[in-house]
Structures are given as C-alpha cells and as structure tokens.
C-alpha cells in the first residue's frame, strides 16, 4: 500500500509524457485524478493505522542492491504517517490551484509535480538509508525545474541557488551514510543501510559528532535553520504558486523530519551535545525571521520569512527531547504545511489577478472581495496560533516542552509568537482593511468556485486540528516516545553520564525520571 502511494504519481507522470502536447485539459485531468487517487490510497493508510505500537507499519521490504545489502524498505509510523497524508492532501489542491495559473508547457509542469510527489512521499516512508538518499535527491530535480522554468524574473538564479545549497548538504550526508554502513560492517561483518539496524550501532562520541554535523548540515539547510536560510526567500519569491506551496508545505518538513528520524536517534549523544547550539540557532531564527518578515514589502517574501520563524519553533520543540516538545513539533509541521500552504495559495490568487505582490499595491480588499478577505483572516489567524485553530496546539506544546528543557529559550521564543502576530496582523490590515487606494483593486473579482473548492478542505482541516487534536496526537504518541527512548536511554544506561547531563540540563532530566505535572499536558490538550 505504501508503494502504491509512492509510485502512483510516478506512473501517472510517465503516462503523461505519452499524451499529445496539445491536450492540456486532458493532462490536467490525468494529473489531478492521479493525485486524488494517491490521496485516497493514503487515507486507507490512516484507516488501518494502529496507534498502540511504535513499530513501523505497512512495511514492505525486498532486496534491491544485494552487494551492498541495500533493500527497498518502506513503512510508516506515527510521525511519517501524517507527513505522508499532508503531502497527498496538498497535492490535488496545488494542481487545482494551477489550473488557470499555468499555461506555459503545461504537460511538463504537471510531470514535474507528479515526480515531486513520488520523491516527497518516498522520502517520508524510506527506512533504508540508501533509499532515503535516493528519494531525497530525486525530489530536488523537479523542484529545481519548477522554479527555474515557471518562476518569476530571477528564477534561474533562485533555482540554481536552491539546487546547489541543498546538494552540498546532501552530498556530505552521503559520506556520513557510507561511514555508518561501513562502521556497521566493521562491527557486525555485514554491510547494511537498514535504518532500524543502524539505530543499534555503537559509535564513539567524536564519531557521532562528525556524523551528526554532516546530517544536521543537510537538514538544517532544508529546514532552513538560521544562518542557512538564504536560499529560501529567493526560491519562494521566484517559484510559481504551486511550487511555493509544496516548498513551504512539504519540502521544508523534510529537514525537520530528517532530524527526528535520522540525526537525533542515530547520534543521540551528539544530539545532546548539540542542543545549546541548535536551540540558539532556532531562537535566532524565530526572532530574526519574524523581524525580517515584518519589514517586507512583498507578500510572498513576508510569508517566506515567516516560515523561517515557524520552522525555528519546530526545531526548538524537537531539541527539547521530551514528549510535549517533539509531539508539538510534529504537530506544528503539519500546521505549518496547512497554513503556510494556504497563505501562498492566497497570495497566488491575488497575484494572478493583479500581477503584483507588493503590499503597498493593495488595501481595502474586504469591500471588493469579502469571501477572499474572510478566508484570508482564518488562515492568517491559524498561522499566528489563535486558540481554536491548529497553530495554537502546536505552538503551545512546543513552548511547554521547551520551557521544561530550557526556560530561557522558551521565553525568547514567545517573543517570536508576539512578533508573528504583529507582522501578520499588520500585513492583513494593510492589504484588506481601509479604503481602496488603488483603482486597480476596485476591479478585483472574488474567489471562483474552483478556488473556493481549494480553500474549503484547508479551512476544515485547520478547524479540526485546532479543536480536536486528539486523534492525531494519540497516533503520534508511541512513535514519539520510541524516538525519545532512543535518545534518553543513554543517560539512564551510564550513571556518570546521567549525572553530568543532570548537571547541565536540570529541568530536562527531572522530566525524564519523575512524572511531572506538566507531562499530563498533551493529554489535557487532547481532551479539549
């Protein structure tokens, strides 16, 4: 079933190539149908998913490159399940959104989107390091084409920058993966790239630090963590709307997913050692992203920098190394995918009509396009974390977890929440409220039925995830706990280490040994 989700888009993409180039409508229908089918299959995954176990489910595994012990090994757990769903959920919406938007080389555009979907889903479900790397790289190429061919005026610069940045990171990760495999070979006399077996590898602290650095660099570029974020605004601004949505909605999650699936559990001691650095970078990213977003004249750039800020929260939550923090982080990944994806779609809607994204060009839209304005408001509020909408749950859990691990970081991060409200509300005010200052805006038409169809599912999910997070959190819980067990087992194993760790990070290790009242927090939220 997992393979069906991975390869349905690829299969459709290959069929697409055989269609005659004039048949744009047919190509659109085919691509949309395929992405919808993929989504339906992934719903089956959700229906059959068992939340009581941390094991990987729907596992498929067979030999691929026998000489290197490489397998085609896929499966999902509570963390990747929702990321797969996010991907397959956003994809049809994106294709729908580009229906009237893209008219140049339509067939190729759709081809690359479907290819991208295969790459993204594959990255989330791969349980073999080699396979993971293949999907991770495969995904780059379609995105590069989407930015470079269908993007804005500086698209070529942005596309190349995107490609080179991500490639440098991932190639170093490749060496680290090879090192892992041969270290395993040295210890067990067999080469394997199987993630679950590599988890048990014993590595010295210095090895861990180097390897963690190689993995973390690759993921930090993808997230992007300050100061590796400079490719992001360029890529976002130049990408076509659909590309931006997928970039923000899914691609950035691969970085944070990489941390939680690979970098942290594979190198737990190094991850602990890196906590101060990464938390500092995350906090800087949160505040810096928010401050820069505030002064952007361009709507897309504003949303792009807000992503830097939001993803900083996710990283912060992950490196809190407690259940609240990590669950909140995973939850926030989904939230960010929905709300930032929706924001880019909204920007796309007015860009398509006015061909400008400058905030100063707009104003007073509420009178002209009331439906648009109200949808915009809900999305914007979800993005700043208003209680009752999805963003709140994630941010709250993250801050809770972070506070237990490092109160100072939590306090600083809260300022990011405040700043987030400031730039979003201010932007909304300038674009939507006030009198119509620009004649052009008086001719704007409100959302078409197709556009409403795009936003309805998004809004529904925002409300659902804001009001009733429990079904998601319970499904994540076991997997998150299993990941944390891998990280924290070491400090219980060696008393000397644990004493040192307690000394350094008192609040965290208290949480690990005693049940503190705060630990019940996710349950409280879940029951709301």
């Amino acid at each position: 079933m997992v393979s069906a989700i991975v390869f349905t888009p690829l299969f459709a993409a290959l069929i697409l190539l055989m269609l005659p180039p004039e048949d744009e409508e047919g190509a659109r229908r085919l691509a949309f149908g395929a992405s919808l089918l993929t989504f339906v299959i992934s719903l089956g995954l959700l229906a059959k998913f068992e939340s009581g176990t941390a094991d990987f489910q729907f596992v498929e595994r067979f030999a691929w490159i026998t000489d290197f012990g490489i397998q085609y090994h896929v499966g999902v757990d509570g963390i990747s399940l929702f990321l797969v769903l996010l991907t397959t959920f956003l994809m049809p919406l994106v294709l729908l959104a580009s229906w009237d938007d893209v008219h140049k080389h339509v067939k190729e555009y759709l081809f690359f989107f479907l290819l991208l979907e295969t790459g993204m889903v594959g990255t989330f479900v791969a349980l073999d390091m080699f396979l993971f790397y293949v999907f991770w790289e495969v995904m780059l190429i379609p995105m590069y084409f989407l930015i470079g061919v269908w993007g804005g005026p500086r698209r070529i610069y942005a596309a190349i920058k995107f490609l080179l940045y991500t490639m440098v990171g991932s190639l170093l990760m490749l060496v680290a993966i090879l090192y892992l495999a041969y270290q395993y070979n040295a210890q067990h006399q067999t080469v394997t790239f199987d993630l679950l077996r590599l988890y048990d590898l014993k590595l010295s602290l210095i090895e861990q630090k180097w390897l963690f650095a190689a993995f973390a660099l690759s993921f930090a570029i993808k997230v992007p963590l300050f100061p590796f974020h400079t490719w992001l605004p360029d890529a976002h601004v130049e990408a076509p709307t659909g590309g931006s949505v997928i970039l923000a909605g899914v691609l950035l999650k691969m970085g944070t997913y990489g941390f939680v699936r690979f970098a942290i559990p594979l190198f737990p001691e190094a991850a602990h050692a890196a906590v101060p650095i990464i938390m500092a970078l995350a906090v800087i990213g949160i505040v810096y992203g928010a401050l820069v977003a505030m002064v952007q004249p361009d709507l897309k750039k504003l949303v792009a920098y807000s992503s830097v800020s939001h993803l900083g929260f996710v990283v912060l939550g992950l490196f809190a190394f407690n259940v609240q923090g990590v669950e909140g982080a995973v939850y926030q990944m989904l939230n960010h995918g929905l709300s930032t994806g929706a924001l880019f779609l909204l920007v796309g809607v007015i860009y398509e009509r006015r061909h400008t994204r400058l905030i100063s060009e707009y104003g007073g839209l509420w009178k002209q396009v009331p439906l648009y304005a109200s949808i915009f408001m809900v999305v914007m509020l979800s993005s700043i974390g208003l209680p009752g909408l999805n963003g709140f749950v994630g941010e709250f859990l993250i801050l809770l977890g972070t506070f237990r691990a490092n109160p100072l970081a939590a306090i600083l991060a809260v300022s990011g929440v405040v700043l987030g409200a400031v730039y979003m509300l201010w932007m909304y005010q300038r674009v939507i409220f006030g009198p119509i200052t620009n004649e052009e805006n008086a001719k704007l038409v409100d959302l078409s039925r197709r556009e409403v169809m795009i936003f309805v599912p998004l809004l529904a999910m925002m409300l659902f995830m804001g009001l009733y997070p429990r079904p998601l959190l319970t499904r994540m819980e076991k997997s998150v706990e299993a990941t944390l067990a891998r990280v924290n087992v070491l400090r219980q194993a060696s008393p000397e280490q644990s004493r040192r760790a307690q000394h350094e990070q008192l609040p965290n290790s208290i949480g690990a040994t005693h049940a503190s009242p705060l630990q019940t927090a996710p349950k409280l939220i879940a029951e709301r």
Binding site: P21, A63, V134, Y144, I160, V175, L178, Y182
Partner: protein, 481 residues
C-alpha cells in the same frame, strides 16, 4: 618440420576479430564505390559487436597465454565490453557525422578498430612490454584520428599536440618499465608481483613506479598531466573526442589498475600517497576549470578530467571494492559521456557545430526527447540518483570510506557539488532560456538516434537496477586473484 609452440588462440580471439575486421575495412574501401562507403561503418560495427559477444561468452575463464604475457581472464573481458561499447557507439555516432565533414570513412573506421585492438591488448597484458605495445598501438591510431579532419586547423593542432606530448609520456612509461625491470629482474607482472611480495620495495623500484604513474597519468588525463586534454578534445572531431574520453581512458585504467592494484598491491602504502594527491588535484582542477567554460566540448573535456579524478579515488581505495568500483564506474561514465557527446553531435550540423552553451537555449521544449536525454546524461554525470552515475560514485566513495579515506571521499563529494553547477548550466540553457534561432538540426538520423537511446536507456536501467552489473564488475575484478 617446424612445430608451433602451443598457442592459446582463444586468448587472442577478441583482438583477432578486431584486426580482421579492420583489415577488411581497409581493403573493401579500395574497391567499393563512393556512395557505398557508409557500409564500412556497418562492417566495423559487426566486428565490434562480435568481439563484444565473444568476450561476454568467454567471461569466467581464467587462463594465461604466451608464457604469461597475456591473460584471458574476466578482468580483461569485462574491459573488452567497455571498449566495444565505446567503439561501437562511436561508430554509430560517426555514420552521419562523417557526411558533414571531409573525413574518409575507410581509414577512419579502420583506425578505430585498430585502436580498439590496442585497448584490448592493454587490458589483457600481463607483461609490461605487452602493455607498452598495446598502448602504442592504441595511441598511434588515436593520434591519427585526432587529426583526421585534415582541412580543419584545430584538428591538425590537436593531433600534433597529442602526438608530441603522448610520445613524451610514452618515454616516461618505457623508462619506468626499464627501472622496474632493473629492480625486480622481470617485466612479467606475475614475477614482479612475486618479487614485490617477497622483498617489498626498493628505491629503484619506487622511481620506476613513479615514472609509470606519469605515463598512465598522461593517458588518463590526470592533473598535472592533463594540460593536453582540453585542446585535443576540443580540436579533434567530436566522435573521436568521445572515443578518446571513454575508450582511451578505460584502456589506460585497465592497465593502470592491473599493474597497481594487483601487481603492486603489496606495496600499496608506498604509492597510494601520490595517487591520493593526484586524485584530489585531478578532481578539483577538472571541476573548477570546467566551471568557466562556455564551449560544451571543452566543458566535457574538463569534466572528463574530473571523472579521471573520481576513478583515481577508486585506485587509492584499492582492495576488491575499489577495483570493482573502478570497473563499474568506467561503464557508467562510458554510457553517460558517450550519450552526452551523441547529443552534442545531434545539435551540430554541417558548417555549424553549435557547441556553445547558448546554442542550447530553448532546446528542451522544442525537442523534448533530445532535451530529456541530455538532461538525463547531465544529471547522471553530476551523480543524481537513481541514474547510473550516482551508483558509480556511490560505489567509489563506498570503497574510499571503507578503506578509511573519508577525507578523500569528502573532497570527492564536494567536487560533485561543484560539478553540479556546470552540468546543470546545460539544462538551464535548454529549458530556462528561450532560444533566439530556430535551428532545424534534427533531420532523421537513425544511427545517431539509436546511440542516444541506447545510452539513455542504459543510464536509467543500470541506475535503477544496478545489482547485476555490480555483481559482474566485482566478479571480474576478483578474477585477478
């Protein structure tokens, strides 16, 4: 009555077929009418395919012939497959190309076949003198091929440069052979190996080894012995460039690896330091210089230097994994590089080679199949999965990491990242710029199209399903014992 000494004719079979085919081409050329000349290509191709099939059929044999001067082992036979691939693709690419130039088919195809004979000898040789004979047979033919477009000034210049520097390098190689003989008392690899494993190295031997490295380094275009390569590659007819970049390089590595990884394996520690530096230097010089090129042939020339660097990484890594990685990478590199050259040929036409990057503007959408093929080759050369170039690099860097050369692997992958920039520039030009002129270069050229399709299919299939070819490369290297 004179009795012939026992001769293992089977060991000569591949080179015999090629020689006979070459002679037939030469003679047939004398009698045939002008308009029938293209048939010569098919004769040459038949000889090459036959050699390939015979080599494939003989795989698994492990015999020595001519008193230990030649070997019939899977190692040599595997390399024969690479040579036949390179030469066969070159012939396919040449059929239409020759009509747009003044090159006479008779000599051209014959020389390609004779060069291939030299390559086959180099791979099979287990004697330093036979290696030298093979090297010279190959080089002589290729010197002429580089200058065979007589009316074109750059072609003449390429030939002269290649000949002068090549002769010089041959001198180094021969002197190295002499010193190795002086140190070990034999030019037979088996005896040299026995000496080395018993007595280790001596200063005289090491000087000889260093000179051999210079000789081989020249033929594989490793920095700092690479300066001839860009000019020769750019000046030579494009088909010959493709043949040199793949075939000559593979042949040189065949002998290089047999001598160093196998015969001189016991004193690995003495020579790997030099090769380490050569590898790092070659990768970096090749990639960094390729960055600033605007001519695609020249870019591919520097890229082939860079790939020689990756191959040297496999040599440094050594052991079974390094040797097998080297062989696998040569196949991978052959496929994607020949494919890239075939596309360069397809874009060019009579009197208008279209070899600048800007000539590729807008090509991708106008000729989707051609654009897609070129994109595949460029991505594969960069090392993007799941294409064959990635598997090749993965193999080489695996070997390096396993043997403990992690930093060399890091230099290698960083170089790959650099190379992404210039390979991707071709793709950028094809898809992201609008073309000003609308060249109608793509008249039906079935042979060339076949070459491109073969290379593209190989690039994808060997990337997605690499298991069989990896196993073959490993088994072939292990036949060295």
């Amino acid at each position: 009555m004179i009795t012939l000494p026992p001769v293992n004719w089977l060991s000569l079979l591949p080179s015999l077929i090629l020689t006979v085919a070459g002679i037939l081409v030469l003679f047939w050329d004398l009698w045939m009418k002008e308009e029938e000349r293209p048939l010569l290509a098919w004769l040459g191709l038949t000889g090459l395919v036959l050699t390939g099939v015979v080599s494939f059929g003989l795989l698994g044999r492990n015999e020595s012939a001519f008193n230990g001067m030649l070997a019939l082992d899977s190692y040599a036979l595997f390399f024969n497959l690479i040579f036949c691939l390179a030469a066969g693709m070159t012939v396919l690419m040449s059929i239409d190309y020759l009509e747009t130039t003044d090159i006479r088919p008779g000599e051209y195809y014959a020389l390609i076949l004779f060069a291939t004979v030299g390559m086959v000898l180099m791979a099979a040789a287990t004697d330093l003198i036979v290696i030298f004979l093979g090297l010279e047979t190959m080089s002589m033919a290729v010197y002429v091929l580089a200058g065979i477009w007589r009316q074109r000034l750059q072609s003449n210049e390429a030939a002269l440069k290649y000949f002068l520097l090549g002769a010089f390098a041959s001198g180094f190689f021969l002197y190295g052979v002499a010193l190795v003989y002086g140190a070990t008392g034999s030019v037979q690899l088996g005896k040299v190996a026995a000496y080395v494993s018993e007595y280790g190295s001596s200063p005289l031997l090491l000087i000889g080894v260093a000179l051999l490295i210079v000789g081989f380094g020249f033929k594989v275009a490793a920095a700092p012995f690479h300066v001839w390569a860009p000019d020769v590659y750019e000046g030579a007819p494009t088909t010959v460039t493709a043949f040199m970049a793949v075939g000559v390089k593979a042949a040189a590595f065949a002998a290089f690896a047999r001598v160093f990884l196998h015969t001189l394996g016991p004193i690995h520690a003495q020579w790997q330091g030099i090769l380490w530096i050569l590898a790092a230097l070659t990768m970096t010089v090749g990639n960094v210089t390729a960055l600033v090129q605007t001519n695609i042939k020249r870019m591919l020339a520097y890229s082939s230097i860079a790939h020689a660097g990756y191959l040297l990484v496999a040599m440094v890594a050594g052991q079974d994994l390094g040797g097998a990685a080297l062989m696998y990478y040569l196949v991978a590199y052959g496929l994607m590089n020949l494919g890239a050259f075939a596309v360069v040929l397809a874009v060019g036409r009579k009197g208008e080679p279209n070899e600048e990057f800007s000539d590729y503007a807008g090509l991708g959408f106008r000729y989707p199949a051609l654009g897609m093929a070129m994109t595949l080759f460029m991505l594969s050369l960069t090392g993007v999965p799941p294409l064959v170039g990635f598997i090749g690099k993965f193999y080489i860097f695996s070997a390096a990491v396993k043997a403990g050369y992690v930093w060399l692997a890091v230099i290698g992958v960083l170089n790959s990242a650099v190379s992404a920039y210039y390979y991707i520039r071709v793709v950028v030009n094809m898809y992201m710029y609008e073309g000003e002129k609308v060249p109608e270069f793509l008249s039906a050229r079935p042979a060339l199209a076949t070459a491109i399709i073969l290379a593209a299919v190989g690039t994808v299939l060997m990337g997605v399903f690499p298991s069989a070819s990896i196993a073959l490369a490993r088994a072939s290297f292990l036949s060295l014992g």
